[in-house]
Symmetry: C2
Subunit: 229 residues, 2 copies
DNA sequence: CCAAAAGTGTTAACTCTACACCCATGA
DNA sequence: TCATGGGTGTAGAGTTAACACTTTTGG
């Protein structure tokens, strides 16, 4: 154990949804073995820092992003050589944010920051592609049993926004009528008096997600669960 | 980062099912800050060792147990003082084994090993009670959508064994008829020609779990999923 | 023959799926 | 007025939930 000199890092897979696509936040490395290349935001944990605090800190330092949702994803530490310099074990986190609510900018620790469509990402340094894949998997399955889609949407949205989000992230078609019926039956959406036009066509009713109501229902045994036609 | 001196450990929550109860494997510490106390098997990762290999190694060294099932559970690293000596981040794993298939014995690195009923465990050193709770949660939810119950049973079992396992671990009653119908409908059990008596009463048919068949079905889109009456 | 556990089927309630037409708006 | 997307209901299929008696064995 004395000769254990493993470094501990955190990485964040931060998803954003916009323009009918799922995006992930990458930064251009300012230091490190893959300088000038795009990688997941993240970095080494300080000696007296909680893992989760390290994630928030790195995100601020590198991207100026504050998240709407964050959970631990998986710890990558089986591949001894995942970092070419020395042994690094990374605890990966999954974050969600509405890109509109943040202004990404490379702060002190990155050369650049940008959103990349997940379906355009081919290879990345380290095992970051693997980490992203794991994140997508988690996001997809979690959409079916937790109302996390709302963290990716505007506070006020029309039904087609929500439909498209599910369609996009799950890569499958969904039945508009059945989907709407199901979601509305949960009683966790508030109908506002507004309407909103998306392009041409008839404007849709604007809804908001009532998080408080959802938490109450969850307490009393309700389970958010979606099956698709 | 240079002054980061975090030590990395693994811990294993190994569940066993016997005598109509759910048990967890604990070891009596031979070294360390809680010497002579019962803790989860685990220890420091070697510098050039994959995390998962560290788990297997520690289990052998401390308990002589080889597992039927192992998956990563969660990484505990937010509490800076979870180890009173220095900063230790622990990657916890969830293991399953049929207690009959292993002979636990304290090997080189532990004073003693034993199975403890999970409902008897009150407090443990470090945050090991937390880790166990997380493990139970994962086990309970996973029973509903993966056939991991079979890793806790004998190769040959009668239906009431499976029922009782679900009843015990999920802490709720289940309808025998509906449960049997559901499980049989999956077509992943083989009926043998044997019967087995459990105490007095009519002997039951003996079944085996056809793992190969399950894997095939899973490949072609089948999802093991249980809802309870 | 009694106690204990195994085995078995049906019905009603519910949920899911599939599906098509009219409506409101902007161009 | 046309193109675009929004809003809506129903019937059939499938699934789940509730429920009780007979069978087989060991004592």
């Amino acid at each position: 154990m004395k000769d254990q000199n493993i470094k501990l890092a955190v990485d964040a897979v931060v998803f954003g949804y916009k323009d009918d696509g799922l995006f992930v936040l990458l930064v251009k490395q300012k230091y490190g073995p893959f300088i000038n290349q795009w990688v997941l935001p993240g970095g080494f944990v300080k000696h007296d820092e909680a893992l989760i605090d390290a994630v928030y800190r790195e995100l601020l330092e590198e991207t100026n992003v504050e998240l709407d949702y964050l959970e631990q994803l998986y710890t990558f530490g089986d591949d001894i050589k995942r970092d070419p310099r020395f042994r690094v074990v990374s605890v990966a986190y999954l974050g969600l944010v509405n890109p509109k609510r943040v202004s990404i900018k490379p702060d002190t620790d990155a050369l650049d920051v940008a959103w990349f469509r997940v379906d355009n990402i081919e290879i990345l340094p380290f095992d970051h592609k693997l980490i992203i894949d794991k994140g997508i998997e988690r996001l997809q399955s979690k959409l079916n049993y937790k109302p996390i889609g709302f963290d990716l949407l505007d506070d006020e949205f029309v039904f087609s926004d929500l439909e498209n989000l599910y369609r996009t992230i799950l890569c499958r078609d969904i039945d508009r009528r059945n989907f709407r019926k199901k979601i509305l039956s949960f009683g966790i959406l508030e109908e506002t008096k507004k309407v909103k036009s998306v392009g041409s066509g008839r404007p849709g009713k604007v809804y908001t997600f009532n998080k408080v109501k959802y938490k109450e229902l969850e307490e009393s045994g309700f389970v958010f669960e979606i099956k698709f036609a």
